[in-house]
Amino acid sequence: MKMQLKNIPAWSSESHLSRIVKDMPPSGIRKFFDLVSEMEGAISLGVGEPDFVTPWHVREACIYSLESGSTSYTSNKGMPELRECISEHTRKDMGLEYNPGDEVLITTGVSEAVDLAFRATLNPGDEVVVPEPCYVAYVPDIILAGGVPVSVPTRLSEEFKVRSEDIAAAITDKTKAIMLSYPNNPTGAVMTRADLEEIADVVVENDLLVVSDEVYGKLSYIDSGRHASFAQLDGMQGRTLILNGLSKSHAMTGWRIGYALGDPAIIGAMTKVHQYTMLCAPVMAQFAALEALQRGEDEMLHMRHEYDLRRRMFVSGLNRIGLECFEPRGAFYAFPSVESTGLSSEEFAGRLLKDQKVAVVPGNVFGPSGEGFLRCSYATSREELIEALDRMEKFLASL
């Protein structure tokens, strides 16, 4: 017999959503994405990933791993060979020793590593200093982990490097960590060893953990201003958690391979969360990453060189057409100012898209101090960059 229910209350999905998630503002980039994707013939400088396809030898190694039937789980921490390889690479590249047994964790992209870092270290109410403008995920990830993000502005006049006075002003008795992301998305700023030494005192005095997203670490273009890691400063390796991956350096965004390097207690805590949520990074992507690290150096350098050529051409082009642009030293973004036009970032980006079909990302998406700027990715072909500059020049002339 059919059961009869009387007065079935209406189902409300809204009331079943988490308040934390409901209160979280949607990514400003998302809004823009919807606008651009409907447009024909648009040139997009809005893409935060290489325009290169992953080098063939890496794809081929992945195919081979599938052919040979490597389709099972790996160790939670990631394949031992890959952890050893990363450890070896880091020793050669940065002069830092990490034990592949308990100081290296392979994650599903750096995005997961960021999430794990905060979940493994924050207690409810703990504050994290976040220099802005910055990548859009840090603030939501901190909130999801129960922490409180405390934004600190960086400025064009200081080449978008974070200053110790600004950090000091943001410190309270609840401050636990600071997020560093250099070379920076969206500004292209780099902090050198000397720059980092300037902030070391305030970090140590306040006993902060340094979470350092170095996914653009290999993409640093100027010899005299090379990217350095906070972990490389004397005595700072222990309090620094390095987050890195192959997405940007080896054109492997879709593979989702990242890693964390740090103190065994923190890596252990992150591994705990990782094993209950992700279990392990995809095995085929781990094989690809191993190949990329073992034999991908030449192609990585080739791509970096190509970005560097485009960087010079594009940044001088922006300055020529009248959009003042600070010289980005890393990543693959230019961050020109639109102040001279009197338009806000969003107005400029919106009208540029409508009038000339060039998509850029308004700087305010990356934090309030990004207002007045645009993020333009030069990880796109030279021809498209030249065409985009032409269209932007026309747009400026029409204002």
Binding site: S27, S44, V47, G48, R310, M313, S316, V361
Partner: protein, 159 residues
């Protein structure tokens, strides 16, 4: 210098102004260096990579492998130079292995190429044997893959 050559080897039509912008250097300097490279013969010629298969009447290409008797004093050079003078010949290379010279030849038909080899190359003094390989399909030339594949799509805006 090397940087300019790398850019030109990718795109012979890159102008001095474009190269200068890529390198962040003055245009006059780049133009002067290109001139020097041309004058000194480092830059031999600017060529166009053509996919002949896309035309109605494709050319026929063949690779010849030649065994050559070494000559006193001139070694392989005298024979190689004689062969190189034919306009049908696109490249002449001394190679290691079973054969001595590798020669690429372009003709209008297979017959054309076969007659050329029989009449002009095989009888040359010093050429001991020839082996002609006709090229049936070219997959990659000068670093460019010639098979048309759709470019994988990227999202238009990402963080």
């Amino acid at each position: 210098m090397k940087e300019i050559l790398e850019i030109l080897s990718e795109n012979a039509r890159a102008t001095p102004a474009e190269i200068a912008a890529l390198m962040g250097r003055p245009e006059e300097d780049v133009a002067r260096e290109i001139k020097e490279l041309e004058d000194s013969g480092v830059i031999r010629k600017y060529v166009t990579l053509i996919d002949w298969e896309k035309l109605e009447e494709p050319y026929v290409f063949a690779v010849l492998e030649l065994k050559v008797a070494l000559q006193r004093k001139t070694g392989y050079d005298a024979v190689a130079e004689r062969i190189a003078r034919f306009s049908e010949v696109e490249s002449v290379r001394l190679i290691s292995g079973d054969h001595d010279l590798s020669v690429t030849v372009r003709g209008k038909s297979m017959k054309d190429v076969a007659y050329f080899v029989a009449e002009k190359i095989a009888p040359l003094e010093g050429v001991q044997s020839t082996c002609t390989h006709f090229i049936l399909k070219s997959y990659k030339e000068h670093g460019v893959i010639l098979m048309d594949r759709p470019k994988p799509k990227r999202l238009v805006v990402t963080p």
